[in-house]
Symmetry: C2
C-alpha cells in the first residue's frame, strides 16, 4: 500500500539499549510512501525538512504539548479467542482454568459470526493499546483462523496468526481429530495467508502446537518438520505451571526435560517463541540459549494463575532474548503497557527473594515491549525502533498538561497528568505506571494510520 | 445539606460477608433528603415505590444496560500531596524514596497555590474512581492542610484529614520545629475542621504521626494523649520496610517491638489505622488484635517499593480488621479498584510461597475495599453497604455491552466489555480486573452527586 510521504515532528523516545532510553526532545522523522523511515533528524538547529524527492509536499504530523512518538508495542503471546474471558478465572490454576473457562469458549469459534465479532474487537482493542505487532494463537478452526488473518490485514495490524494444534488431553468437543488432520488444517491456514499476503508483509502464519501436553511425540515431530521445511516461525508454551511440568515428565519419559521435548521434535530453533518459561532448569536455559529460541514473558498471566515468577534477570544474563506477552486471557489485560508494569512488579517480587539485581526498570520493561519483542518475532530489522530503513510502526503518546489553574479533570485525556516539573524520564515512568489507552492518541503500522483516539484528527 | 428524595432502581451489588457478594439483579433503594437509605426493596414482584411520605414525587435514577450500584470505595491510606509523583520512584526503597522524591514535593505545600492545584486534582480524581471516603495524610503545613479539608467539603468527599507530624529524621527544610509546634499545629488543624464541619459529618480530623522514625517517645506520647483526650482517630505507618524496622529497633531500644512503640505511646487503640503491617511478628499481630487497632493494606505500594508481601490471610485469620489503601505515591494508582486487583495479585505471590489458602478472591478484595475499609475508619455503621439507615455513599457502574454487530470500540465506555454470556460474578470479576474510572458513571456521597462521567446526565 502506498501512503503520502509524511514527516513526524516532535519529541520521540525509543530504547537505545536494554537499560537506556534514547530521548530526542526535538526530532523529525520522515516516512516514505512504503511506510519506511527515510530520515531521522535530531539536531535542533539544523532540523529542516530535506529538499527534493517530494519531501516539500509531505504531510506533517506534529506532537502537541506533552507528548512523544514511541515505537509500537509487540505482543509476543496472545490468545485472540480468549478475549471475552479477560478477568475471569476465579482462583483456578492452569489445567483447571483451561477446562473450565478456556476450552468451552475456544470451541465456540466453530461459528464464524462469533469469531468475527470477537476477533474484530481484539484487533481493534490491541491497536488502541499501541500494539502494532501481535503474535496470536487462534483456535483449531480453519475458517475462523483465516478470518483472524483477514481482520489483521484489513485493520492493518502486523500479526502472526497460528492455528492451534491439539489432539491430546483436550476435550472431545474441542480437539484435532488426529495428527493428520492437525497437519492438514495447519497447512490450510498457511496457504490462506500466502494467498492474502504472499510476501508476509503484514501477516505471517505461525506453526502452533498448543503445548507438549496437547500433542505427542509424533505430532510435535511432524510440526517441527513443517517448521523447518517451510522456514516459518513457531510458537508454543513451556514450563508454565509445576503440575504441567510434572505431567510432561510423566508423558515424555524419553525426554531429558520439558525443553528437550521440543528439542527432540526439531522445534527448538531461532524461530521458536516459547511462552512463560517460569520453571526452567539451568540445563534447559542453556539449551534454549544454544538454540537461540525466544522467550515470551507473560507476568500478568503468571501472577493471575499463580503459575510462578519467571526469573527474567537470570534469563537476560544467560543471554536469552525476551519479549512481553499479554497472554490474554490468562492475563487480564490486552495492553502491553499494563504488561510492562506487571513485568516491573513481578521483578520486584523476585527481588524480595533474590536481591535487588532482579529488579527490572521501566526502561528495561519498555525494551522488552519493543526491541526485545522485535527480536522474539524475528523482525528486529524491520520494527522495534526508529532507524532509517525500519517500518513506521509507531504510537503517538499524549499526556495531560495540568496548568496552574486546572482543577477539573479531563477523563478522556486519561490518568497521566503532567504538572510541569517532570523530567522526560519522569514522564515515561508516569506513562508506564499510570497510563492506559487514553494516552495513545494515534497508532501507525507501516506508515498506515490504524487507530486514532476518539476526537483526534491528524 | 438537603437533597430531593431519590429512588435508585436497578441491579445492586454489595459485600454480604468477606467471601460472598449480595447480588440483587432487580433492586430499588430509596434515599431520603438527608442522604440516608430509607428503604431497600429486592423483591421483583412486589417492588413498588412506597406510598406516602412524598416518595411518589421522588427523583428516579435508573441503571441502564449492564450496570449496577455498588458501595463507594474507602481508601484507608493516601498521601494527598504526593499525587503528582504517582509512578515516579525508580528502583528506590522506602527511606531513599522519601528523601529523593517525597520530602521535596511535600515541602512545596508551603505554597497555597500549589496546594490548591494539587489537592483539587486529588479529590476530583479519587471521586472519579468511586472513592467516597479517603483517609488523607496532608503535610506539616497548617494552611494547606486546612485547605484540603475545605476542598473535601466543597467537593463532597467523606474524608479524614491529617496534618503530618514529623520532627526527627526529616530534612531541615521540611519538618516540625519541635514537639511543641507539632502539637500546636495539629490542634490548629483540628480546630479548623471543627469550624467547617462541627459534627464531623463529612470531614474528620485525624491525628497523624508520620511514623515512629519521624517522631520520638515524647511526641508519640503527646499525640497519644491528644488522640485519647479528643477521642479522634489516628493514623500512622508500621513495619513497611525491613531497614525501617531495624532503625525502629535501634532508636526505641526500650520498646519490645515496632507495635510496642505505639502501644507505649497510648496510640494502639481501636481508632488507630496502621498502614502496611508487612513484617509484623506474631506477638505484634496479637497485640494489635488485642487493642483492636486497624490495618490499611497497600499492596501496590508494597510491591513498587519492594517493601514486601503483607500476609493478609494470616491477619484476617488472626481477627484483624483490614481495609485497602492506595498509598499514593508509594502506590502508583489513586484507584481503589486497581488496588483491589493488586491485593488479589499480591495474595497470589504469597500463595506461591505459602499455599493456596493465602489467595484472596475478587469478592474478598471488594470486601476490604468497602465494608473492611468502613470498619478501619470506624464508620461501619454509616457506610460500606446498602442497609437502611446507612448513608448513600455509592457508585453507579456501567459496562459496555458488545452487541453481535458491534465491531468498533467505544473507548469512552472503558475497557470492560460484556459479550452477553457472563454471569453476575463474571461481570464483577471483569470489572475488578479490567475496569477503570470509565466504568464509574456516577458517584454519590451522603446522597449528593459528587462525580459524573463526561456526557452522563441523570
Amino acid at each position: 500500500m502506498s501512503q503520502k510521504k509524511t514527516v513526524y515532528i516532535g519529541p520521540f523516545i525509543q530504547c537505545k539499549t536494554l537499560t537506556d532510553l534514547d530521548i530526542c526532545p526535538n526530532g523529525m522523522i520522515g516516512v516514505d510512501e512504503g511506510g519506511r523511515i527515510a530520515f531521522v533528524l535530531r539536531d535542533e538547529r539544523g532540523r529542516k525538512i530535506p529538499e527534493g524527492d517530494g519531501w516539500e509536499d509531505a504531510k506533517i504530523v506534529r506532537i502537541q504539548d506533552h507528548g512523544f512518538f514511541f515505537p509500537g508495542f509487540i505482543d509476543t503471546h496472545i490468545h485472540a479467542p480468549q478475549y471475552p474471558n479477560a478477568g475471569i478465572f476465579g482462583k483456578s490454576t492452569l489445567l483447571d482454568w483451561l477446562n473450565t473457562y478456556t476450552f468451552p469458549l475456544e470451541s465456540s469459534f466453530a461459528d464464524l459470526a462469533t469469531a468475527s465479532r470477537i476477533y474484530n474487537r481484539v484487533v481493534a482493542r490491541t491497536l488502541s493499546h499501541g500494539t502494532t505487532t501481535a503474535c496470536y494463537y487462534a483456535t483449531v478452526h480453519v475458517p475462523a483462523t483465516n478470518l483472524l488473518a483477514d481482520i489483521c490485514q484489513t485493520r492493518g495490524q502486523r500479526a502472526f496468526v497460528g492455528r492451534v494444534c491439539m489432539h491430546e488431553m483436550s476435550p472431545e468437543y474441542y480437539r484435532d481429530e488426529s495428527v493428520e488432520t492437525a497437519l492438514r488444517d495447519s497447512k490450510a491456514c498457511i496457504e490462506h495467508v500466502r494467498k492474502i499476503d504472499p510476501e508476509f508483509d503484514l501477516v505471517t502464519p505461525i506453526i502452533t502446537p498448543r503445548f507438549a501436553l496437547s500433542c505427542n511425540t509424533e505430532s510435535l515431530a511432524a510440526l517441527g518438520k513443517l517448521h523447518r521445511e517451510l522456514d516459518l516461525p513457531a510458537q508454543t508454551h513451556i514450563s508454565e505451571n509445576p503440575r504441567e511440568c510434572d505431567l510432561v515428565r510423566d508423558l515424555f519419559p524419553e525426554s531429558k526435560s520439558y525443553a528437550d521435548v521440543y528439542e527432540s521434535a526439531g522445534l527448538l530453533t531461532p524461530k521458536m517463541i516459547l511462552a512463560h518459561a517460569i520453571h526452567l532448569t539451568e540445563e534447559e536455559t542453556a539449551l534454549i540459549r544454544a538454540r537461540d529460541a525466544k522467550i515470551s514473558h507473560c507476568p500478568a498471566s503468571n501472577t493471575a494463575l499463580t503459575s510462578g515468577r519467571a526469573k527474567v534477570r537470570k534469563m537476560l544474563n544467560a543471554g536469552l532474548n525476551l519479549g512481553l506477552g499479554t497472554d490474554v486471557s490468562g492475563g487480564y489485560t490486552s495492553s502491553i503497557l499494563a504488561e510492562a508494569r506487571e513485568a516491573v512488579f513481578v521483578s520486584r517480587h523476585v527481588a524480595m527473594d533474590e536481591g535487588d539485581e532482579a529488579k527490572l526498570s521501566v526502561e528495561e520493561a519498555l525494551y522488552l515491549a519493543t526491541r526485545g519483542g522485535a527480536k522474539v518475532v524475528g523482525l528486529e530489522d524491520r520494527i522495534g525502533g526508529f532507524e532509517v530503513g525500519k517500518m513506521w510502526d509507531a504510537q503517538m503518546i499524549g499526556l495531560e498538561a495540568v496548568g496552574p489553574e486546572t482543577t477539573e479533570l479531563d477523563q478522556s485525556a486519561g490518568p497521566v497528568e503532567v504538572f510541569g516539573k517532570e523530567t522526560w524520564d519522569d514522564l515515561v515512568a508516569k506513562w508506564v505506571y499510570t497510563g492506559d489507552d487514553r494516552s495513545t492518541t494515534a497508532v501507525w503500522v507501516g506508515g498506515r494510520l490504524v487507530h486514532a483516539k476518539e476526537g483526534f484528527r491528524l
